[in-house]
């Protein structure tokens, strides 16, 4: 989570992890090497991947999440070609309630079709949020590996800086940056990527720390392998699960943060049908009873972030078992 985290959600994940670790300890005592998930042959690895996929497909949360995501991805790819009206330039009678005059979700205060705008609004955020998430996971993994493997002064200094950055809500720092730099698409993606990097770093670092204490890392060191080799070939394959979970979680939070930024006027600019922006343009009308231009984009944001989190949660559950 923004919430976020600098969101308490990643803190929650840490505690969940601790609970999992505690559960695993018993297994380790029983003689099963849980931490060393190294598979000898390619066939075994493929088998394991297949089993994980089957486990995923059996989770209802995962299926629901993927279906909702699929709807929004179709909307994002189809864009203006599949919307019933032009979301920006078609003006019908304003403020038509849902279901009237051929407008299933009604029209907004300027007479634009709400359904078309909600569908077209998926595009910007579905492109920008995954890009920001991928960048933050890439840099976060890099820093996390370096800090968790080498420790030392670099780890101490970066840990302090991360802690300082995480002491303010992401949305505040993002506002500060967009106020200074102006809000172009590039700035928004860069800002979210920059602000998520410390959160990812913290999670990856914790995973690397746990791995680095295991025997296979020690034996690689004794073999005289280089630090680069150990980090990329030995440790990384064992933390890909964490990285995938982190990526999906971050996509959800990137949608959250970008929607909030555009709501605050610090993100995508009009006349884009972006959901956060649309809500900021229409929410005052709720008091006079015109709820549809606001609540349908709100529902869209909610469904997208919930779907992403359901997928992330399912992947996490499968990866950690």
């Amino acid at each position: 989570m923004n919430i976020p985290l600098p969101d308490p959600a990643s803190a929650a994940a840490v505690v969940d992890e601790q609970a999992e670790v505690a559960a695993h300890d018993e297994l380790i005592l029983a003689g099963t090497p849980v931490g060393t998930k190294t598979f000898d042959t390619r066939a075994e690895r493929r088998q394991a991947r297949k089993e994980r996929l089957q486990l995923l497909i059996r989770r209802p949360g995962f299926i629901v999440g993927v279906l909702i995501l699929a709807v929004w991805i179709v909307c994002a790819i189809g864009g203006y070609r599949i919307t019933p009206y032009d979301p920006i330039n078609d003006f019908a009678r304003p403020n038509l309630p849902p279901g009237s005059g051929g407008h299933i979700l009604g029209t907004d205060q300027l007479g634009r079709d709400v359904l078309s705008r909600v569908m077209a609004g998926a595009r910007d955020v579905l492109i920008a949020a995954p890009i920001a998430a991928v960048i933050s996971v890439a840099f976060g993994s890099l820093f996390g590996l370096l800090m968790g493997y080498y420790r030392g002064w670099l780890d101490d200094v970066l840990s302090r800086i991360i802690e300082a950055l995480l002491s303010i809500p992401v949305i505040l720092v993002a506002l500060l940056i967009t106020t200074v730099l102006g809000s172009s698409r590039l700035v928004v993606v860069g800002t979210v990527a920059l602000l998520f990097t410390p959160i990812v770093t913290r999670t990856i670092r914790a995973a690397v720390l746990a791995e680095a204490q295991l025997d296979y890392v020690t034996s690689a060191k004794l073999r005289g392998e280089s630090g680069f080799f150990i980090m990329t070939r030995e440790i990384m394959p064992n933390i890909t699960g964490t990285m995938v979970v982190e990526l999906t979680v971050r996509i959800g939070y990137a949608v959250f943060t970008m929607a909030t930024l555009s709501f605050l006027g610090a993100g995508i600019q009009p006349p884009s049908p972006d959901w956060g922006l649309t809500i900021s343009e229409t929410y005052r009308l709720i008091q006079s009873g015109q709820w549809w231009p606001t609540l349908f984009p709100a529902l869209a944001i909610a469904s997208l972030v919930i779907a992403t989190n359901l997928v992330a949660d399912s992947i996490e559950a499968v990866v950690t078992t």
Partner: protein, 318 residues
């Protein structure tokens, strides 16, 4: 304990110093002409220069950096050029209003979430547990302004139960004021219920599985006694920690929510500062939010240390 507190305080000071440095870097990383930005593109150069001189923007960067550090300590950030009032006064007034909303929000959130978390943990892997977990996941992943507008419509407009905006009429009594704050407080419940309930659940599961719980059960203690004396004391430590962090975020992170409800707290002030490009006010607000966060995480850590001597020893020893 004294050693632990001192160590923890020293760390907070270091973090605060780094935070101020980060804010300074963000604001100054690109060449900026605040006088021109305020006065607009058509103002004569003399006006711009005068403004820059008044803001201290023409001083060398190290001087500006020193001034920001000093301001953090004395909490004197000069006058806001948008409001022509001391930045400190503006922040303080907004902070007090935010505190009311945060207090009410947490007062509603904490009991429900802890009860739901413990409830789910005791029925682990049942459908009741899964409902709490999924509901928590869903509610905390929705942005605050999205749940805010939804509540506004359903409870405020459609059902007409509560005022839509959090702006009590002048001279309203404390109870009436409370009524106006209820809707945004409910939105806070929606956002933070998930975090706190999931955290409580994880902590409780861990404590239920622990040896001391087994011992307590084997000793023949009643379920109630096992829960209150042995499980909760340990289970709630991560919960206390997440509440500490949440308070920090609630003070400055509710920018969108305060805007929706027209509530003049810290979030609204931050929004105004950002939209009018009042960077000194914005920087001061960010630093203030950082300080609040540090104070509350410190308090949370002290409570945990008091609850669990082991945490205290570990932290002091490492």
């Amino acid at each position: 304990m004294t050693r632990y507190v001192l160590r923890r305080l020293a760390l907070s000071v270091v973090t605060l110093f780094l935070l101020v440095t980060i804010v300074f870097l963000i604001v100054n990383v690109f060449p900026d002409d605040p006088g021109r930005r305020i006065a607009g593109p058509f103002a004569p150069q003399e006006t711009v220069d005068l403004l820059n001189e008044r803001l201290g923007a023409d001083d060398p960067l190290p001087v500006q950096y020193g001034r920001l550090l000093r301001s953090t300590v004395t909490f004197d950030f000069g006058d806001s050029f948008q409001f022509s009032r001391p930045v400190g006064d503006l922040l303080w007034a907004a902070l007090l209003r935010s505190a009311k909303l945060v207090a009410l929000g947490l007062f509603l959130t904490i009991p429900i979430s802890i009860a739901a978390g413990v409830f789910a943990a005791r029925r682990r892997n049942t459908s009741a547990d899964r409902s709490v977990v999924t509901l928590g996941l869903a509610s905390s992943s929705i942005p605050d302004f999205v749940s805010g507008v939804t509540l506004q419509y359903i409870i405020g407009v459609k059902l007409g139960l509560l005022p839509v905006l959090a702006v009590p009429p002048r001279g309203a009594g404390p109870l009436e004021e409370l009524e106006y704050l209820l809707l945004p407080a409910f939105a806070i419940v929606v956002v933070y219920f998930g975090y706190i309930a999931r955290m409580t659940r994880a902590g409780t599961i861990q404590a239920l599985d622990a040896d001391y719980t087994r011992t307590a059960v084997m000793k023949g203690l009643s379920t109630r006694r096992v829960l209150s004396r042995h499980v909760l004391r340990n289970a709630l430590q991560p919960t206390v920690s997440v509440i500490g962090t949440s308070v920090g975020y609630l003070f400055g992170g509710l920018v969108a929510l305060e805007l929706i409800f027209n509530y003049p707290g810290l979030g609204s002030l931050i929004y105004t500062a950002a939209s009018r490009k009042d960077i000194p006010l914005l920087s001061a607000a960010v630093i203030l939010v950082g300080i609040i966060y540090m104070v509350f995480t410190l308090i949370a850590d002290l409570i945990i240390a008091w609850m669990n001597p082991r945490a205290r020893l570990e932290a002091a020893g490492s």
